[in-house]
């Protein structure tokens, strides 16, 4: 069923009796041309683009919980393409372009809101770094504007401009950045894939990957063995565990990142604003809650909950940026397990095992990548070769020295 204003009116008059489930709950088939492990944003987007762009419809997405139960439903919903290094700039800009047409493309309201992402700077050195980054973005055709303190003040007068330690000198603004309703992204891709014939198998955990003579031939699951022509792994925080089923060790550590939501208030902040002197970023949801977060906890974790000292750290940074939020109560907070890579950049590639493909290393920033990640991974799986846009996101770059390290932090995942 196509969603439209007419469908809403028609169903309104019929008491909503004509709405059908957005996707089926099929029984697993014995064989698929491609099996995608992980029903997060990236896995669902991969299946969607496999069907839509490559005509591959005998495809299953195998998800151990319900779709959206992982990071796609836990993130702070920020999208942007303000990267410095060419591999990242072009890839994330392609993602931004896909976001811009996504809702029409998959006929689902994902509430894509290009409200602007503003990164503040607090020192001359930081301004210089942002000038450089802004120039790199503009050279690649991405929008970027450098604001001085008055420019920031006209957008967000409530910030603490004269903070004794970290006065706000200005910011780098990407107006096309913003937020997207994260759950709706999972649902929209799921519905779009399902309507093209993809089976979405929820509550089906992959427990093994069968490899015969150097080729991956299927997955063992809690609902039996499923034979597959090709297998794509998109398991985010659980990538190391699933890849280990095929004997692979990855350049990945799993870490927990927390997010916070305050009680709902009237519209106060229009953009996404990030603090430059500590790790803190904030925006406001349509329900009125302030949505914010900061650093990862820093140690390996598969617990989807965080620790108190980060809660304190995030709120201290928040108070330094916008003192008035001290009057608000925090309503909820939670954690998600992320696949931190050794250079802070992702991997979308083939693996040394034929028929096995890998998508991981998204760190704390993979939500914005969802459409492009699915698009590139689908290409890599269908054509058995990476697309130009993900050619740099190779698994062997750590061995060959072609790292994509935005921060220059080195092989220390908790510093990226």
């Amino acid at each position: 069923m196509k969603y439209s204003i007419f469908a809403v009116l028609r169903e309104g008059l019929r008491g909503g009796k004509g709405w059908t489930p957005a996707w089926r709950e099929p029984e697993p088939k014995a064989h698929y041309d491609a099996v995608i492990v992980g029903g997060g944003g990236h896995g669902l987007a991969t299946a969607y683009y496999l069907a839509k762009e490559h005509g591959l419809t005998n495809v299953a997405v195998v998800e151990k919980g319900y779709i959206g139960s992982g990071n796609v439903g836990r993130n702070t919903t920020i999208i942007r393409s303000n990267y410095l290094l060419p591999d990242n700039t072009h890839f994330y800009e392609w993602s931004m372009k896909l976001w811009e047409g996504l809702e029409q493309d998959f006929n689902y309201n994902a509430m894509v809101s290009q409200r602007g992402v503003l990164n503040l700077y607090h020192s001359d050195a930081q301004r210089d770094a942002y000038v450089r980054r802004g120039n790199a973005m503009r050279l690649a055709g991405v929008d970027a504007e450098l604001l001085d303190a008055d420019g920031v003040r006209s957008m967000a007068p409530f910030l603490d401009f004269n903070n004794a330690r970290f006065p706000i000198q200005g910011g780098l603004l990407q107006r096309r950045g913003g937020t997207v309703r994260h759950d709706a992204v999972a649902w929209g891709f799921a519905r779009g894939a399902d309507s093209r014939g993809v089976d979405i198998l929820q509550n089906t955990e992959v427990t093994g990957i069968r490899v015969e003579t150097g080729r991956a031939v299927g997955v063992e699951t809690t609902r039996g063995f499923i034979r597959a022509g090709k297998i794509g792994l998109a398991c985010a925080g659980n990538s190391s565990r699933v890849a280990a089923m095929a004997g692979l060790r990855l350049p990945i550590e799993s870490h927990v990142l927390q997010a916070f939501v305050s009680e709902g208030i009237k519209p106060a902040i229009d953009q996404v604003i990030t603090f430059g002197a500590g790790h803190f970023y904030i925006s406001q949801s349509d329900k009125g809650g302030l949505v914010y977060g900061g650093d990862i906890d820093g140690y390996n974790s598969y617990a989807q909950r965080g620790n108190l000292y980060i809660i304190e750290d995030v709120h201290e940074a928040g108070m330094a940026l916008w003192p008035a939020i001290g009057r608000l109560r925090m309503l909820r907070h939670w954690g998600g397990v992320m696949d931190m890579s050794m250079d802070g950049s992702p991997i979308i590639d083939k693996t040394p095992i034929d028929g096995l493909y890998l998508n991981c290393g998204w760190c704390y920033g993979g939500f914005k990548a969802t459409p492009a990640s699915g698009w590139c991974f689908a290409h890599t799986i269908a054509r058995d070769a990476p697309h130009e846009l993900n050619a740099g996101f190779r698994l062997d770059r750590f061995a060959s020295g072609r790292l994509i390290d935005e921060k220059g932090a080195g092989a220390q995942p908790n510093l990226h």
Binding site: R241, P251, S254, G298, Y299, N300, M342, F398
Partner: protein
């Protein structure tokens, strides 16, 4: 999370800095074996369960510790000084 430092007693984890997988990082190969060095620098087992990891008591005694911790529950099974391992060399 609280870590029982052998010198300082039980302390909040924000007094410490964590480096990562102790077994991977303490087995530093010689620089001329490129494959082994790649393993050491980049590959991690990243288990869901018991993990031996290096923590530095930066706001305390400034000793390197090997903490054995369950990455699913954060329950700490053991804390030992890194420098007491067989060859007596600190990590």
């Amino acid at each position: 999370m609280r870590i029982r430092c052998p010198y300082c007693g039980e302390r909040s984890n924000d007094e410490f800095t964590v480096l990562g997988d102790a077994d991977a990082l303490m087995a530093r190969p010689s620089g001329d074996d490129a494959a082994a060095f790649y393993d050491y620098a980049y590959l991690r087992t990243n288990p869901a369960g018991q993990h031996r990891e290096l923590w530095y008591h930066s706001a305390g005694c400034r000793r390197w510790l090997v903490v054995t911790r369950d990455t699913r529950t954060h329950i700490i099974a053991d804390v030992a000084l890194a420098s007491t391992r067989g060859d007596g060399e600190a990590a």
